[in-house]
């Protein structure tokens, strides 16, 4: 019977199954400090979503004319608005620090024509752009520029 293999020989080994216990996730996985920051990071999604709609609302009012705009602007001083905006600020800074400090430097593509910069340089660049943009926007909105 010299020659080729048996037809059934290429089949993967017939491993016998045994009864297994289902995978275990430690009951308190979300309690671990590291996981907690990760979940908080995810939770900022809710804040961002609402922030987006708030700005939509403002732009909408702006489009409606001067009265609507002034009402909208003054309604912003409602404590609930201020509290939410404070939360947004905290979220934004948290997201920025986590993403710009940890993620972006890692995500540089390692192939292709774009050179890989040292992580420190990338971080500095991103933080620099972030601060500059914030500054310019603040100055414009506060009426200092333009």
């Amino acid at each position: 019977m010299a020659g080729t293999a048996h037809p059934e020989a290429m089949a993967p080994p017939q491993k016998g199954p045994t009864r297994t216990a289902p995978p275990q996730m430690p009951g308190t996985w979300w309690g671990a400090p590291r996981i907690r920051t990760y979940l908080l990071f995810g939770a900022t999604g809710i804040v961002y979503f609402i922030a987006g709609t708030v700005f939509l609302h403002l732009v909408w009012q702006l489009g409606k004319g001067p009265e609507a705009w002034e009402t909208a602007l003054s309604s912003l001083s409602h404590p609930a608005y201020i509290a939410f905006n404070a939360l947004t600020l905290v979220s934004v800074i948290f997201v920025g620090v986590r993403a710009f400090g940890g993620m972006m430097p890692k995500m540089q593509p390692r192939t292709g024509p774009i050179p890989v910069l040292p992580a420190g340089t990338v971080k500095a660049l991103i933080y620099g752009v972030w601060s500059l943009m914030t500054l310019v926007i603040c100055l414009i909105l506060a009426g200092v520029l333009f």
Binding site: G42, A99, T134, V136
Partner: protein, 119 residues
């Protein structure tokens, strides 16, 4: 549903990434002034009286920035909320939850476009 999401995944991820990076950068300044400084009276509201606000917003750059300011955080938010839902055991519902969230983000984005274009 899940299949459609899969095909769209690169786009969604790009929008999410843009929301994470650009959205964060834009939001910081806007929240600081429009959300906090003006309502709290640190900056006089005249800085954004109707004429000035409309002038800034209706310029081409202003429109682009406003659109980004509205739409990008929505996508960042939708994507993050979806993964949050997944982390708390929503694997089977992921397709539905994801579609719902992205539809919402898309819907509000369209309103955003209407608002910005109609300025």
């Amino acid at each position: 549903m899940k299949h459609l999401l899969l095909i769209l995944e690169p786009v969604i991820w790009l929008l999410f990434g843009a929301g994470l990076a650009l959205g964060t950068m834009l939001l910081t300044g806007f929240v600081l002034v429009v959300g906090l400084a003006i309502p709290m009276g640190i900056v006089p509201p005249e800085a954004l009286n109707y004429e000035r606000a409309y002038g800034l917003a209706s310029s081409f750059i202003g429109r682009v920035i406003l659109l980004a300011l509205i739409a990008l955080p929505l996508w960042k938010g939708a994507h993050h909320v979806r993964s949050l839902a997944l982390d708390f055991g929503g694997a089977e519902r992921d397709g539905a939850v994801g579609s719902l969230l992205y539809l919402a983000a898309a819907g509000v984005s369209v309103l955003g476009i209407i608002a910005v274009v109609g300025l």
